[in-house]
Symmetry: C2
Subunit: 196 residues, 2 copies
């Protein structure tokens, strides 16, 4: 064992999550978080680039299921089907990672603060860009890849929003089902005849 208790980063993450939930993001200072975690402020900023980032720790790994699904799909798969495959994989990975209640608690914090929503949008944009890159590898033009990446993220967010909705009963449809529904809605939106 080292000079200090190990797992400082995870301790900081938990302390921050709890305090943000209790008092709100603005009313919680980094000093409070580090005090609860038993480290100094400087250590906080060594683990997280800024105060918001602590809420996105470990999320970077969600890019991989997206990208792998695109890369591993059989040759000749259409671009929209690649998007569908990526969504399926990502939804499965997410549900295995965090429970719906955990996701809900975190989302409540994010939704209460514009600065945090901002950061979330940046992460999602990064995801869309990566996905676009993977689609370019599969032959999509830059324009088409970017649009498809945005579409995938938009569908994922729509599904996620419904999945974590406050009034959702405990046993509603899974994230994957919601994503498929949302993707079907996009198909419907784009190909439906002008009449309602």
């Amino acid at each position: 064992m080292g000079r200090w208790q190990p797992g400082a980063q995870e301790r900081l993450r938990r302390a921050a999550l709890d305090l943000f939930g209790e008092q709100g993001f603005d009313a919680t200072s980094v000093a409070q978080i580090t005090e609860r975690a038993g480290v100094t402020e400087r250590t906080f900023f060594r683990h997280f680039a800024d105060k918001r980032e602590v809420l996105f720790a470990g999320e970077g790994e969600f890019e991989q299921p997206f990208l792998d699904a695109v890369a591993d799909a059989p040759a000749g798969t259409g671009h929209l089907d690649l998007v569908a495959a990526a969504l399926d994989a990502a939804c499965a990975a997410f549900e295995a990672w965090r429970t719906r209640d955990e996701a809900r608690a975190r989302q409540r914090i994010l939704d209460a603060h514009a600065g945090l929503r901002e950061r979330e949008l940046l992460k999602l944009d990064h995801l869309a860009c990566s996905l676009a890159g993977a689609l370019r590898e599969r032959g999509a033009t830059a324009l088409r890849a970017r649009l498809a990446g945005d579409l995938a993220v938009s569908v994922f967010v729509a599904a996620f929003t419904r999945w974590t909705a406050e009034d959702a009963a405990g046993d509603g449809p899974g994230l994957r089902e919601l994503a498929r529904e949302a993707l079907a809605q996009v198909r419907d939106l784009v190909v439906a005849p002008p009449s309602a």
Copy 2:
């Protein structure tokens, strides 16, 4: 005439834009901006909520063309056609507001700084939400409206990106043409058969 030179806000905006372009966003302090504009720091924060916001002054008005186009379309127009109409109107409004060179200069600043891209994404998300609201007024379900709003913004951004691309010659296609092209790409992406 008042006690001070009028137009403090516009003076601040210009000073900020110039300094950001010359030295970069991070290397420019609010004190520098206010010094050049001939006001105190406190006045800057009375006109703009934070340092980033000065780059988005007056942009809120671009929501209106979007929303009006949706509201004013003939009854029975399909949701995707409402999106197309909104895009047409917004592109026309934008081209009338700022020149391509102005947009390019501003975009160079935004692209160079993650924090600014973040803010831009928040603005775009707000636009997508407003558009979704307008589409709900036209009978779209919450899910469909949100997806359509995202789609519109995605298409607009894709078109805008090409419009302001560095290597674009002075007389390429207009913003509206690019938006139509991008929307056609979405149609193609969604309805195309699986084969490439």
